[in-house]
């Protein structure tokens, strides 16, 4: 049975799987995704990878991305609101155009769940939950979360998860083995497990935070928006009596690192676009 992990996990902290399981039971809403990445579960992705980044694997990246995205869309239904999805796509592509891979076409889906979370799959697939959108105040917050996911994609964290799985299975040339769909499925399953369940490593989460803040600022959004969103989520969890989580060192360190990054940007300003966000996101 698939585990549901706390939002905190994806966005906010690092720790042990055991800790995460305890927190899950305590949190007011579930979260997972790359925040789960904070949880160190033997680090399917984190340590990466004895397998060199092979050209063959890169060549397979689109289908790896699709297959991981399939796992996400078979776990959660898509929220059937084309206009809202269009708005998320427009914000996401604006951030993507300011990323380190602006030529990639990014696709965005809203997952119909009250859980607050976001996910990404290789080669441009980004998912955000209805629950996460409901907790946002303006467009800069959305740009920050999407920027974080785009950061994972640009740094190929998902692809590395697949690489790591391939290495563990002794596959050094994925493309050569992909005629065996069973092997392809095994490594893609492992990649999806990282995205949906175990999460990326703490260093990868930090890297995605760093990239996300950089991308959203480059796009002209106020990077404080991302920080505000993370702080709000943390506060919400704290109100629910989640003391262990609230004091988790990984979480506070991560927020602090984002604050430090913003401070080094000499108190940047940018657009928050609360009115445009409110006009497009009417979920409550």
């Amino acid at each position: 049975m698939k585990r549901k992990l706390p939002l905190s996990t994806k966005l906010l902290f690092a720790g042990s799987l055991t800790t995460a399981a305890i927190l899950l039971a305590m949190l007011p809403f579930n979260v997972g995704g790359c925040g789960v990445g904070g949880i160190d579960v033997g680090n399917a992705v984190g340590g990466i990878t004895t397998l060199g980044k092979s050209a063959s694997l890169d060549k397979k990246e689109p289908e790896i991305g699709e297959s991981v995205a399939l796992q996400v869309t078979n776990r959660y239904p898509l929220y059937q609101d084309k206009n809202l999805t269009r708005y998320v796509t427009l914000v996401g592509r604006t951030v993507g155009a300011s990323s380190s891979n602006p030529a990639l076409k990014y696709y965005f889906g809203i997952l119909d769940t009250p859980q607050a979370n976001a996910f990404s799959a290789p080669h441009g697939f980004v998912f955000i939950t209805r629950g996460a959108l409901m907790r946002m105040k303006d467009e800069s917050e959305l740009a920050g979360v999407l920027g974080h996911e785009i950061g994972h994609i640009c740094k190929q964290h998902g692809l590395r998860a697949v690489q790591s799985a391939a290495t563990k299975q002794g596959l050094t040339q994925l493309a050569g083995s992909v005629t065996n769909i069973g092997q392809f499925a095994n490594v893609v399953d492992a990649g999806g497990d990282v995205v949906l369940n175990t999460g990326f490593s703490e260093p990868q989460e930090d890297e995605a935070d760093h990239e996300g803040v950089k991308f959203m600022a480059a796009a002209g959004y106020d990077p404080h928006g991302y920080l505000h969103f993370l702080q709000r989520i943390a506060a919400e969890q704290g109100k629910a009596g989640d003391k262990p989580f609230g004091t988790h060192p990984g979480m506070s360190d991560r927020v602090k690192r984002i604050q430090d990054q913003i401070n080094k940007m000499n108190n940047p300003t940018g657009q928050t676009l609360a009115d445009r966000f409110a006009a497009n996101v009417t979920l409550r």
């Binding site: 991305g65 441009g124 992909v178 002209g220």
Partner: protein
């Protein structure tokens, strides 16, 4: 003798003409015009927010030059070169490199509307996964044109600083 030479000469000329026609057809097939189904921005870089080189009016045919991921390098009717998003123009299947059988994001345009990559399809069948949600996500994403992204960014005064409000 003369008759024989004349006959061979005619055959040779026919052969040359046939070869020229065949060659020309290949070139046409490889560089068949693409059409703008709605107003399409040709942009300077492979970035939807880069500077607009020319806006192609709906219904205009123009020439592809090459393809790179989900971007097509084109020559406009006015002779300028730039890029269009592959999903923003038709037909896509006639373009060099488009096989109609590869994966969604950037390799062929036909993927966007006709299905996922072959390994993805096999994977979905093996896992008994439904593909309709992902296909819908891709279709909805393809409905958002590069020009719309540019207009949206311009409206919010956002986007990369070097392109902002251009």
């Amino acid at each position: 003798m003369n008759t024989s030479l004349s006959s061979r000469s005619k055959k040779f000329r026919r052969g040359v003409i046939a070869a020229v026609i065949a060659s020309a057809m290949t070139a046409v097939a490889a560089e068949a015009p693409i059409k703008a189904p709605k107003d399409v921005d040709v942009v300077a870089d492979k970035n939807p927010l880069s500077e607009t080189v020319e806006t192609i009016p709906s219904g205009t045919d123009f020439q592809p030059i090459s393809r790179d991921g989900s971007w097509i390098k084109v020559r406009t009717p006015g002779g300028k070169e730039g890029y269009v998003s592959a999903e923003d123009v038709t037909p896509l299947a006639s373009l060099t490199g488009a096989s109609g059988s590869t994966s969604v994001n950037g390799l062929t345009v036909t993927n966007a509307t006709k299905g996922l990559g072959p390994d993805t399809e096999k994977y979905a069948q093996m896992k008994n996964f439904k593909t309709d949600n992902l296909n819908q996500m891709i279709t909805w994403g393809n409905d958002v044109s590069a020009k719309e992204v540019k207009d949206f960014a311009k409206g919010g005064h956002v986007g990369p600083a070097k392109y902002r409000n251009k």
